[in-house]
Amino acid sequence: MLVTHLLARGQVLAQGPDWISFDVGAFVDQFWSNTFDGLTYGAIYALIAMGYTMVYGVLQLINFAHSEVFIVGAYALFFTLAALGFGPSAPNLNVFALVGDLVLAMLVAMLAAGAIAILLERVAYRPLRRRKAPRLAFLITAIGASFAIQYAIFAWRGPNPEPALIMFRQQPVFEVFGAIIYDQQIVIFVAALVLMVVVDQFVNRTRLGRGLRAVAQDPDTATLMGVNRERVITLTFLIGGFLAGAAALFYVMKVPAGVQYNGGFILGIKAFAAAVLGGIGNIRGALIGGLLLGVIGNYGQTLFGNAQWTDVVAFVVLVGILMVRPTGLLGESLGKARV
């Protein structure tokens, strides 16, 4: 009887669904503008993904609270810029004053995010590491820390997003394949790319970077060879925090009303998805994964006709990649990174 009930409801799908479309026309029309906008988002994902990927490479720990490291950076950025007179209206500043303000705010955000990342490592993870706690304990601690930080901000700042911060008025710069490129997109993409190249070079070319790779590859041997493991771990969290702080600048530039207590959470999951997509533990993988995810999300949004699909697509990609190729596109290889 129940089965017949369940089967007798063909009308569910028969009603022309207006909640999903396969709008190939819009997809083709907006293909290039979606691509460029997606790359901008992807660059931001990639910056945050670096934090996940490096910590994972060194500790095999999913630092679930990294999204909150990011949001702390965003709040630091918000307060700095607000103190500098930024608000919901674009300020009238000349280029040098503007760049000076933004770089200052970015530095403050990076410091704040770096500080909270190290604090997190010291307070939450180190005691567990001392005790050689199992992985699950680390993950639960990370989740707890994520929520503690998120809702501490909630208790302090309330549920609403902070007023929008407009840094400069967007201007179209040029056109490619009919898609208008805005100056903001170039700033974000180029600056994020430069930061990532710097970190990549740092890990691959410097002494400290070599130590970092050594610990990722084999912590015991690395310790025997005289690498200070704790220091490497601290350094890893610090770099991740710095990049998250920098990402905060670009994210707020792109989404001016994005500074909110839970504003980092979904972004963090997407960044983690990006890291997994590229191959967690792999710095270049984070970049590729971030950019891909940004673009795919945008395509999904246009194709299916609702902004919410961006997140669905991101999660489906995450689940799919983990199932089909858990080591990601480029493989998990912080330790094996080519020199």
């Binding site: 009930h5 007798a8 567990l128 050689k132 992985r135 929520f147 983690f272 489906v316």
Partner: protein, 386 residues
Amino acid sequence: MTTTQNPSPAATPSSGGDRRLLGGLRDRWNGLPRAQQWLWLIPLVVLIYALPVLNPPLLTTEPGTNFPIALFDAARFALLAIGLNVVVGQAGLLDLGYVGFFAVGAYVAAMLTSPDSVLTTIPYLWTLPIAMIVTMLAGLLLGGPTLRLRGDYLAIVTLGFGEIIRLLATIVGPLKGQVGFQGVGRPPGTDADGQPLFANSDGTTWYWLVVTITIAILLLVGNLERSRVGRAWIAIREDEDAAQIMGVPTVRFKLWAFVIGAAIGGLSGALFAGQVGFVNNQKFDVPTSVLFLAAVVLGGSGNKVGVIVGAFLVSYIPNRFIELAGYKYLIFGVALIVLMAFRPQGLLGARQRLLAYGRQAYQRLVGKPEQLASDNPMTAENGGDR
């Protein structure tokens, strides 16, 4: 029977501080014959049933929240926690998307009974088994491909699953997003005044229903634990590779845990939908999932009584101290960190014991009731940190 019990403290291996406090009580409890245990449980169960009527002054959540409804909430949480405990505590699989199963159950009940639904409506009670079946299928669908993954990846995939369910509820037209379903059904029956027995505003009857179901589920899960399945779960939790080598079909038993946990989550969701009478997409987010996890970890994952206590605390505290309600995620987030650092086994940790024929074996071998060793997925001294 030589019942000269002299439980020498030295005999109990100590790895937690609870031995002195709760341990004595627990050892004595475990020493009791099963029949006596049952006898002791009867007044406790009666008390639990009587709670909403007694409305004891200090315990009551009024005037902030209606007490029977707060109790219903606690019972619903307990049922959820028992289900999640099968997954997290027994089999050691960290499931962050448990709220997804809860949501599926709630939506099944809503879509099959609410007049707002495009589906044909059926009597409410039928939706409970259907919700369980549908969530089991959902569990199979998610677990089948993903349970081969490493533990932490699994956590993230399940988190993604939970979010996908919520987002689909938002996007997919017939699921009605934030508008939601009103007038979700209720069990039949009216009282003397012609009012429905299971009114949305009456937590008492709903509470009794959920407590009854919870007891039934507890018995079921308890039996399962003592069976071959339960032993396989523990083997997997302790060391998956070793279990596999010893011939335990790990994926199959992990899937079992996943599916059974999912079904209980779905059942709880369907009950929730019935009591509230309204389902929309707003309460199935990740924070809720983490709250469920907090209930299990707080009480002591792997320990059924523990998780019920944990569930009660997690749902009761925000209802009792309304002023704390806004901080509940903060409080339980901090609680998770503190617990993992200082008391990873939770308030009432699980302990290792012989599961099948345990009593007889102990009696025969050592001539006294079992001595329990500490054991919990969170306290294992190995694995970890590669």
